[in-house]
């Protein structure tokens, strides 16, 4: 999945001459937390976050008149100028690792000098939710397999054999690195058939977990 597929294309922007007060109002109005700042010829020159604004705002405990003039200051005084950006063709997982490494939650998407979109932590997280298949009706099956080539193909062939459609697959490391854990979300309410088949081929099923006496 590439950034272009998940980014928002209509970006709310301000210019460096706009005031802090305008930025606060704009964020409230659109329910957003980041505003890219652009120059007259549409080039990205900075970004402000709700945190930048909070830090710049006078304390609510100090209500003297002169403090209010702070709101009239231009954004360029508080904006971040070394903005981290991504390209529309970057992978979603690249954005995820940038969010994680730099502890930020929003990335302007640039094609050359031009701002073409914006992607947030929430967008990426939602992509991951879809990736797990957890937003579609499905059941979960976990299988522990030896860590060697061909295992995923062998096990997933059994789903095909039983006409069960797979919504998503994860491969987790096991504590013992001679093994891997395969997690399937499958489109069926009755996974028992395919679970039996997997078991009968000698694979270890971690879930569904059967208690003694159940059968």
């Amino acid at each position: 999945m590439i950034i272009e597929k998940i980014m928002k294309k209509e970006v709310v922007t301000l210019t460096h001459k706009d005031t802090i007060a305008t930025a606060i109002k704009t964020m409230r109005h659109h329910g957003i937390r980041h505003i890219p700042i652009i120059s007259n010829n549409n080039e990205l020159i900075g970004i402000v976050s709700d945190r930048d604004l909070r830090e710049a705002s006078p304390s609510t405990l100090v209500l003297e008149q002169k403090e209010h003039s702070l709101f009239k200051k231009p954004i360029k005084d508080i904006m971040t100028t070394d903005v981290i950006t991504v390209h529309p063709l970057d992978f979603v997982e690249d954005a995820a690792s940038i969010f994680f490494e730099h502890r930020i939650s929003c990335l302007p998407v640039m094609r050359g000098q031009k701002l073409v979109g914006i992607v947030t932590e929430a967008d990426v997280l939602y992509t991951y939710v879809q990736l797990t298949g957890a937003d579609q009706p499905s059941s979960r099956i976990e299988v522990r397999v030896p860590n060697r080539s061909g295992m995923l193909s062998e096990v997933s062939a059994l789903f095909h054999e039983k006409h069960v459609n797979i919504s998503s697959v994860f491969v987790y490391p096991d504590l013992d690195d001679h093994y891997k854990i395969l997690v399937f979300r499958v489109q069926t309410m009755n996974p028992m058939n395919v679970v039996e088949t997997i078991k009968n081929r000698g694979y270890e099923i971690l879930w569904p977990h059967q208690l003694e006496n159940r059968k």
């Binding site: 929003c106 957890a134 009706p137 499905s138 059941s139 006409h163 309410m189």
Partner: protein, 395 residues
């Protein structure tokens, strides 16, 4: 006015996917026969279900979908097209006359509704219904048409009443929840095994409704291996507090009987005890808040021999205010034992112990309690509902 009616027809058996499919309406006949052999279900109390009309189905379902089911019924739906409607899958295979069979289950629930809402009976039970996974335009999880969702829309239109829908099936009542997700005049409560592992995967405590309906969907996902005490504690508290908050005119309960330890599809550890208590508490709540108006439907339940007949009989017996003890009728046991692949449980009570002690019992109870608190927080705080929507925060 009658105290209670039992919606029943032998034709409920026509909703049959195939011989090996876990969803088996023989359960309804087994229950009917159990009650009959106790002499506690008279012919005057039995009402035949009607067929739901296309217009009634269309209260919830897309016309295109209804049309597809009809064509599937006659074997005239292509595989490709069927797949888009969730038909012809492992869960909901196509079978002859599936449209009529499914419409009868919906019609059964509508018959129950008409009896209760026009004061011809105080309570009504349709064990053929409870197909809570059916979506607007898609079959899912053994369900084609969603009888409860259609019935709720029908109640709104015809009787203008506020409905509290309570779903104790081990699977999340997703179809009904999504049908009324933005509607503040319908309140849904679903208590189910957590979707982390179990179908359909939804039913998180944070699913609370949308827009005007925010705060009117309640979900209490409980941990795998949850036992009676914790289940009942959660059910009693949540139903009591939600009914007090919502002040319904009528209660619809979905009585899936698949949270039992012996159920092959789920991982909860309740016993028959909860199926004795669930209808009792629903009955009390209906009398406290709804002048007794209570419509009960069936649902899941895949140990059709040892569990479902006893569990579902309890619903009718509660309506009749009868608590059975000891042995099941010999006549019933003798009739059905030869047909059952497993040894029937001969008593109303489960054998003790039914299973080995669960090692994480205390942890599971604590976790369920926390989930209950989270779910009810919104009404316990008694705050006005703000339409804040965390999910759509942008940039």
């Amino acid at each position: 006015m009658k105290e209670q009616v039992f919606i029943y027809s032998h034709s409920f058996q026509s909703y049959k996917f195939h011989q090996e499919h876990p969803f088996n309406q023989l359960r309804v006949e087994l229950t009917y026969d159990l009650l009959k052999s106790m002499n506690i279900l008279s012919d005057e109390e039995i009402v035949s279900p009607r067929l739901a009309t296309d217009d009634e189905l269309a209260l919830i379902h897309d016309r295109k979908y209804i049309d597809a089911v009809k064509r599937a019924s006659e074997g005239k739906l292509s595989e490709e097209e069927a797949y888009n409607f969730g038909l012809g899958t492992e869960d909901t295979p196509i079978f002859p006359n599936m449209h009529e069979a499914s419409s009868l289950l919906v019609g059964g629930t509508l018959t129950a509704v008409d009896y209760v809402m026009s004061n011809k009976a105080l309570h009504a039970l349709n064990l053929g219904g409870g197909l809570h996974h059916g979506f607007k335009g898609k079959a899912s999880g053994f369900c084609i048409y969603n009888d409860s969702a259609v019935a709720i829309k029908y109640i709104q239109k015809k009787y203008d009443a506020r409905v509290l829908y309570v779903d104790t099936d081990a699977h999340h009542g997703d179809g009904v929840q999504w049908a009324f997700y933005d509607d503040p005049t319908v309140c849904t409560l679903s208590i189910h095994e957590t979707g982390r592992y179990l179908f359909p995967g939804t039913g998180n405590v944070t699913e609370r409704g949308h827009g005007k309906g925010y705060g009117y969907s309640f979900n209490i996902p409980i941990d795998a291996f949850t036992e009676d005490e914790s289940f009942l504690n959660i059910y009693r508290k949540s139903l009591q507090e939600i009914a007090e908050f919502f002040q319904p005119d009528v209660i619809i309960t979905q009585n899936g009987a698949d949270a039992h330890f012996l159920d092959p599809l789920t991982h909860l550890c309740s016993t028959i005890k909860i199926y004795e208590e669930i209808p009792k508490i629903a009955h009390e709540i209906a009398h406290t808040y709804c002048e007794g108006r209570w419509i009960a439907v069936g649902g899941g339940g895949y140990d059709i021999w040892r569990i479902v007949p006893r569990a579902w009989a309890h619903i009718w017996l509660t309506m009749k205010q009868h608590t059975p003890k000891g042995s099941l009728p010999q006549q019933w046991l003798e009739k059905w034992q030869p047909k059952s692949p497993v040894k029937l449980i001969p008593n109303w009570e489960d054998p003790i112990p039914l299973y080995e002690p669960i090692p994480r019992k205390k942890e599971i109870e604590e976790k369920n309690d926390m989930t209950l608190q989270k779910a009810l927080h919104i009404i316990r705080e008694n705050r006005p509902f703000n339409n804040h929507n965390q999910a759509t925060e942008s940039s």
